[in-house]
Symmetry: C2
């Protein structure tokens, strides 16, 4: 119940529209609460990402494992973020990513087919989707630019100013991987930047 309040608030806030009682009932009917304990997987490489999850509580990481066995974190996610490999979710192809809970995790999850229904029938939901799509496009553009043009140190500074809470919520080695750095390099970087 209070899980759903978080989702309702989020949709209304982002879309700038109100949800009717009917809208809420429809959402509650098909978004299923799911709990994962720390270290459990929301999605495993090779599986199809059947569900998209809205994070009510906890955190997660989306990562790949390369041929040498090294992990690369593509996304770190917190409360009020959506959890999915969108390629797999949209196209129903096997995913190349793993999504793992970094803390005990509570999500509300739904299938692509249900999402299509929401988009059709709930104006606030489709308005939200449009805003999110814009935000994602902008964020991706920025992150890509940072990855291409910035040095390791600049990317770290950037992270600090854009997502300061990340430093509290995620261990350093995860941050390093997210920035495309080895844990050692990030450690040294921090030491030097204090001077």
């Amino acid at each position: 119940m209070s899980n759903f309040e978080a989702l309702f608030d989020y949709i209304q806030e982002i879309s700038g529209k109100l949800l009717s009682a009917d809208d809420k009932h429809l959402l509650m009917e098909h978004f299923k609460p799911k709990k994962l304990r720390k270290r459990q997987y929301f999605l495993q490489e090779g599986d199809v990402c059947k569900y998209i999850g809205f994070i009510v509580k906890g955190s997660a990481r989306t990562f790949t494992v390369d041929e040498k066995g090294h992990e690369h974190i593509l996304k770190l996610s917190l409360e009020k973020w959506w959890l999915a490999d969108f390629e797999s979710f949209y196209l129903l192809t096997p995913s190349r990513f793993n999504i793992e809970a970094l803390e005990d995790l509570e999500v509300l999850q739904s299938t692509n087919a249900q999402i299509e229904e929401y988009l059709k029938h709930i104006p606030a939901f489709s308005a939200m989707a449009n805003v999110i799509s814009q935000n994602y496009t902008i964020a991706n553009q920025k992150r890509m630019q940072a990855a291409m043009s910035y040095t390791a140190e600049e990317r770290y500074e950037d992270l600090i100013s854009n997502y300061p809470h990340f430093l509290q919520r995620f261990p350093q080695n995860m941050i390093a991987s997210y920035l495309g750095l080895s844990p050692e390099t990030l450690s040294r970087l921090k030491k030097n930047s204090f001077k």
Copy 2:
């Protein structure tokens, strides 16, 4: 006139829906043909990206210039691609990017306000927008992964298999910058991969 046929075909192909005669008239009313000669700018750093352009003919690059004066290409664009800095276009903020014609360029351009109208009134157009948004999300996810996890050589192989025509249309130093490499490094890379 034949310019618009390219746009109409594109919208119908991507959306899977047909455009009515009214739809087409509406599009022709507000999409303006614009020609740029090679080396001219579609968008300059610091300006607001007032227009989104649909490329009918030609090619372009989107790039930033860092403090050291080095250019970094974020996007290489060809026929049937959309041209804009979406952050600036959506939010009307000054752009950090430059968009420059690499060949003589013909685009059909429109403002954000007009696009909103199309989304409201032309079903094929809004269906197209949804598909594009999905494709962008997927492409961004892939490119980000490539940038994080792949070596220079793997990124080049990746480019060859995903966009083989890029090699014909863009000079090598542009490809290098797009891959986040110096021209020298790409040159050496090619030599070694032949062995």
